[in-house]
């Protein structure tokens, strides 16, 4: 009976290892002129997770949200541009954003893939955290959304 339970637990662990599970927090942040923030990525699997980061500007047009190429007036620095997160670990990524034109919005996209695929299609997931930057921090997101409608 003990052998069966151990076998079931092993199978469960192997099954879990084959999946990808990522938690991103926070989903957005608002800043004044000096925008220094950070976000966390948690690898919920038993396998290491490779992450790459991509920067895009965000816009709101006719009430519809859109990601576009990073505007030349927006400058972003990340503490790292790729990462490998060990199993069941959390990595904190720091960033600074400066904008020549206020307000501005930046999305930092985290693209994550688990394991390596020799044949077939590798699955990748992508989630983003958005930084809103204004002259004043309070109410920045609302102001950004109002300005861009």
């Amino acid at each position: 009976m003990k052998t069966v339970i151990i076998l079931i637990l092993t199978l469960a662990a192997l099954t879990t290892a084959a999946t990808a599970q990522v938690t991103l927090s926070p989903l957005n942040a608002e800043f004044g002129k000096k925008a220094k923030g950070e976000f966390n990525l948690t690898n919920g699997t038993f396998a290491p997770l490779s992450v790459t980061f991509e920067l895009q500007s965000v816009e709101l047009s006719n009430g519809k949200f859109a990601m576009v190429d990073l505007k030349p007036t927006t400058h972003v620095k990340l503490s790292e541009y790729s990462a490998r997160i060990p199993a069941k670990q959390t990595r904190t990524i720091a960033y600074t954003v400066t904008c020549d034109v206020m307000p501005c919005g930046v999305v930092i996209l985290s693209t994550m893939a688990t394991g390596h695929t020799n044949e077939g299609i590798a699955m990748a997931t992508r989630m983003g955290t958005i930084a809103y930057v204004c002259d004043k921090q309070k109410g920045c997101r609302d102001w950004f959304l109002a300005q861009n409608k």
């Binding site: 084959a18 999946t19 990808a20 599970q21 990522v22 938690t23 991103l24 927090s25 926070p26 989903l27 957005n28 919920g44 895009q56 709101l60 009430g63 519809k64 949200f65 859109a66 990601m67 576009v68 996209l109 693209t111 893939a113 688990t114 394991g115 695929t117 020799n118 044949e119 077939g120 299609i121 590798a122 699955m123 990748a124 997931t125 992508r126 989630m127 983003g128 958005i130 997101r141 609302d142 959304l145």
Partner: protein, 189 residues
């Protein structure tokens, strides 16, 4: 007998002394300030990290479905939409076969069930979905179906379970080992 009597008297005196102390030593209630915060978060999990698609004689057969579980815990103030995107990184080379050449994204068809609704099979040559910045011409979900929820303007928690299956529907591919990456995005705006 005398010693026993003296011992009993001594014990009695000490017990009395202890009782008198117990009556005078008191501690008033102390307060400890507590603060706690819960940030917004979103968790995305996939049932598999790779997918094998039948080529050759079994072309047109859908792969095993991939299950995507999404969970969110958000505050109020968002635009309020949850947008999904499923796409390849390249329209001309969705899968690379080395000397065998490339397989374009238009050779693949996606069958998806999103938020309980089964979408019509869609060839992966759709325009970009701006809200997730998917690759133009390599996207597998029509823009009209990309917005899954549009009522997330207030603080809420929720989950979604969606499934995706891919089929190769192009011409017979040359013998080779093909590899590529398929992206699934979920973005709360």
């Amino acid at each position: 007998m005398r010693k026993i009597l003296l011992s009993l008297i001594l014990i009695g005196v000490l017990a009395g002394a202890n009782l008198s102390y117990a009556g005078t030593v008191t501690a008033g209630p102390q307060s400890v300030a507590l603060t706690a915060s819960q940030g917004e978060s979103m968790t995305l999990s996939l049932s598999t990290n790779s997918l094998t698609i039948p080529l050759g004689a079994a072309a047109g057969t859908y792969s095993s479905p991939i299950t995507a579980n999404v969970a969110w815990n958000i505050a109020s103030g968002h635009v309020g939409t949850l947008t999904v995107g499923a796409w390849f990184s390249s329209a001309s080379a969705a899968l690379n076969g080395g000397t065998g050449g490339n397989l374009p994204s238009s050779s693949f068809t996606l069958q998806a069930t999103i938020n309980g609704a089964t979408l019509a099979p869609t060839v992966c040559n759709q325009p970009t979905i701006a809200a997730v910045s998917s690759v133009a011409g390599a996207t597998c979900i029509p823009a009209a179906n990309a917005v899954v929820l549009s009522n997330l303007t207030t603080a809420s928690q929720g989950t979604l379970t969606d499934t995706y299956a891919l089929a190769y529907t192009g011409a017979l591919a040359p013998p080779a080992t093909y590899t590529g990456t398929f992206y699934i995005d979920y973005v709360i705006q």
